[in-house]
Each structure stands twice: as C-alpha cells, then as structure tokens.
Amino acid sequence: MYIEIENARKTFLQNGREFTAFTDVSLSIEKGEFICLLGPSGCGKSTLLNAIAGFSPVTSGSVKIEGKEVKEPSIKNVTIFQNYGLLPWRTVQKNVELGLESQKVPKEERRKISDKYIEMVGLSDFKKSHPRQLSGGMQQRVSIARALAVSPDIIFMDEPFGALDAITRMKLQDDILSISRREKKTIILVTHDIEEAVFLADRIVIMTANPGKIKSVLTVPLKSHRERTASDFLQVRDKVFELFNMKHEEHIEYMI
C-alpha cells in the first residue's frame, strides 16, 4: 500500500487540557488515487492532512508513505493551502520557481519548467504580476502551478477552494480534475463541501466530530467524466447526505 495510516491519533494540549483532534484512524491509499476527506468543522480532517503531510505528526499510531514513517514535510509531497501561501513579494513566475530554487535547478531549466506549468493553469499573461494583483482563483492557480513544478508524488489540498466564489470554485474543480488525470498524481483533498467531494474523489473518507473519527469510506461509482447535474451524480450525493444523517425521514409516524 502506498500510504498506510494505522490507529492514528492526534491530541493537543489546550489550556492545560488534552484535546483529541482525531482518534482510531486507519486508512490505506493507493498510488494515483484521488481521496477526499469530508466532514464538518472540528472533525479533525485538516489535522489528519497535516499529519500525513508531515507538518504535525501523529501522537500515536503510525502514518507511512511508501513504508517510511512521516516525520516532516518533504518536497515530494506538496501541500496547497486555502489561503494559497504565495510569497507576495515574488512575481507569479518567481513563486512557481520557489521549490525549483531549493532543488538547485539551473536558471534556464527553472524558467522552462515554470513556463510550462504557468501555461497549464492558464496564467501565461500574468507571469510578471504579483499575487496581490490577481483574483483569489488566479492565486490558487499559481499555487497549483508551484506545486506541480516540483513534480511531487502526492499533492495535499487543505480546503483549497474554500475562499473562492461558487463559480470560480467549480471552474477550478474542473481544472484540478483534468490535471490530476493527466499528471497521475495521488491527491488528498480536505473539504466540507459534499458536492465537491462527489465531483472529485475516487473515494470519499467521511469523518465525524467529537472526537474526530472516520465514519465510513465511500467509493464513488462514477466515471472520470462527471456531470454535476446527472442523475447518477445526484444519487451518490444523496448517499453521502444519508451517511451524515442529513436526509429527513420521509415517513412520519403519528402517535395517537
């Protein structure tokens, strides 16, 4: 198995009291899978992502990538954040080249690679712009290009479209789906948006809060091309609603 999480548990000390972010989490992920961690706020989904990405390792249990325990972040597994994490003093091009600089890629090579990915996310006309001059959706595209530029094995996304308006969000979902098919990356994406999870994921990991736990793992029985309004799409969405107990009972019994 590519990513193996066993009995993972994460606790924090909060005002002197122990707080459990998630517990009893076991999950196996295969190479090339698109996984969505879906759940309400407080279910520990972002904390779980941070643990797999190495920013804040688990308290007990284990998280292994290719058999190796995750202890710190690696340039092979890049995270895309909700607030983009771009460096505002760098131009779009220099932002995309950030990871290549630390890998000591020569300058011309860097330029070529960054040009390629900036074009892939459709921002060729904005290479010389600074992040602040771009819209939220464009900034997130820059951070996607920056992640792809270092050709990572895994891409982590922490509510990447959470700060965007609905239409921009759908456009970026389309893009990330086609990029993931083309680049064949393993992607783990955290979201609280049921539709987003159904649209993107091969498997949806449904989590519940207090304490954070995996409730169930749902394989999405849809082809790679998905229509948000198709009936099979809506069926899967319904299923997720059910799993969250958010579908109201249709039959009401009256007690007389």
Binding site: P73, F81, W89, E101, Q133
Partner: protein, 253 residues
C-alpha cells in the same frame, strides 16, 4: 496632479512659517542681534554659501550621519532577524534592551568623549544609538508576528537556513521594518545636531555653538533652517525609496 498639489501645499506652508517669523520680528522689539529677520538669516546663509563654510559643515554632518545611521540600521535589522527567530534567547535580552532604550543617547556623551576623544566618532555613536533600538525592537516583533504559512511553505519546498532568512523571513517582514527605519531616520537626525554640539569641531551642530559663541544670531538662524531643510529632504528621499521598494515587493499598490 497629486504631486503638483503637494508642492503647492509645501510652498504655502513654508511661506506661512516665514510670515509668522517676520511678524514676530516686526511686532517684538528684540534687537536684530538677538532675533534676526528672515532676510538677515538668508543673507547670512548666502554669506556662508559663498565662502564655502556651509558646505564644509554639511559635508561633515552628512558623513557622520550616513555612517552612523546606515550601520545602525543594518546591524539592528540583522540582530533583530536572529533574535526574532530565537524567542527564548530574546526573553533574556529584552529586559536589558528595555532598560537601555529610554536612556537618551546624549547621556552617554561624557563617556564617549572620554573614550574616543573629539571628532567624528562621538557623533556617529550618538546617531547609531538613537536609531538602533527602535529598529531592533520592531524587527524582532515583525519576525515574531510572521504569518506561519510562510514557514510551512518554506519547509514544504525544502528551503533551509540560511536561505530561509533572506528568501522568506526578511522579505516577509520588510514592510513592517521599513516603517521603523523611516521613523529612526528622523530621530537620528535630531540627535546628530545634539551629538555635534559637544563632541566635534565641525558640522551643523557645531555651527550652532560656534554661532552662539560669536554672537551671530543670523548665522544661528540660517543654520537652523539648513538643519530643517536637510531633515525634510532626507525624509522625503527615504519616503520615495520606501515606496519604490514596497512596490517591488508587490504590495501597497
């Protein structure tokens, strides 16, 4: 348009100041040896310009100011960057800094003159001290307040020390530091004059004492105007530079 407007503002404001000065001169009955008119002061200034004295003193002052201020800012920023990354160490240094900070640099003057003698050094040290603490403290607090996402991104993309310092931390905190560097310029200029009044034989501060000793109130006033003008010019030069740099930083549209 905005620029023309601000130039208009400056001219009117300065004319007002001259007007008040002239008015006081006319309304009071100080002898002109004690309170010269604007015209007398400008004549004195013209005299000092033509015989080259003014330029010599300005040169001496600017040299000290450049050395003291620039070295102070560089050292304070570098030290601040490191101490900002070492909050445990700074906890032990901060109380001492807080003790030294409110002491007027001038209080050290007797020691400085005893140790380094008369010359450029005392004024340079005074300027150095006056700019040092505000820049140091604001750098430390800017580094402490750095957005954690920059550190996360750097870690993720494999940026390590020392690159992380000049590639990420310094540029991230620069806009905040720039403000204190700017404020420190004004403070340092104020203390340049004070420093030159005791420790030196040249410079705009020394000229104040020299004019007093020779009972030349007109020269004194001319000197004061020059001190103000240079302070104003330095401030607006730095303001322009600050704007340019922040623009290159991609901020402050």
């Amino acid at each position: 348009m905005k620029k023309i407007l601000s130039i208009k503002n400056i001219i009117i404001s300065l004319l007002l100041l001259l007007g008040v000065w002239q008015l006081i001169y006319v309304l009071t009955d100080f002898s002109s040896a004690l309170f010269p008119s604007p015209l007398q002061a400008f004549n004195a200034m013209a005299e000092m310009i033509s015989n080259g004295i003014l330029l010599t003193h300005i040169g001496a002052s600017m040299y000290r100011f450049a050395v003291g201020y620039v070295s102070s800012v560089i050292i304070a920023v570098l030290l601040g960057l490191f101490l900002g990354r070492l909050p445990k160490v700074f906890q032990y240094i901060n109380p001492a800094v807080q003790l030294l900070r409110p002491i007027s640099p001038m209080a050290w003057m007797p020691f400085i003159v005893l140790w380094f003698g008369i010359g450029d050094i005392p004024a340079i040290i005074i300027i150095f001290i006056s700019a040092f603490f505000p820049v140091l403290l604001s750098t430390v607090s800017a580094v402490n307040g750095i957005d954690p996402i920059y550190m996360k991104v750097s870690k993720n993309f494999g940026i390590k020390q020392p690159q992380i310092m000049w590639k990420v931390i310094f540029p991230a905190v620069f806009p905040q530091i720039a403000n204190s560097i700017h404020l420190a310029l004004g403070t340092a200029w104020v203390f340049l004059v004070a420093g030159e009044m005791t420790g030196t034989q040249s410079g705009l501060g020394y000229l104040v004492i020299d004019a007093r000793n020779n009972l030349r109130a007109d020269i004194l006033f001319a000197d004061i105007i020059v001190i103000g003008l240079i302070g104003l010019i330095l401030d607006s030069l730095l303001k322009t530079a600050e704007k340019q740099i922040l623009k290159a930083w991609g901020g402050a549209d």
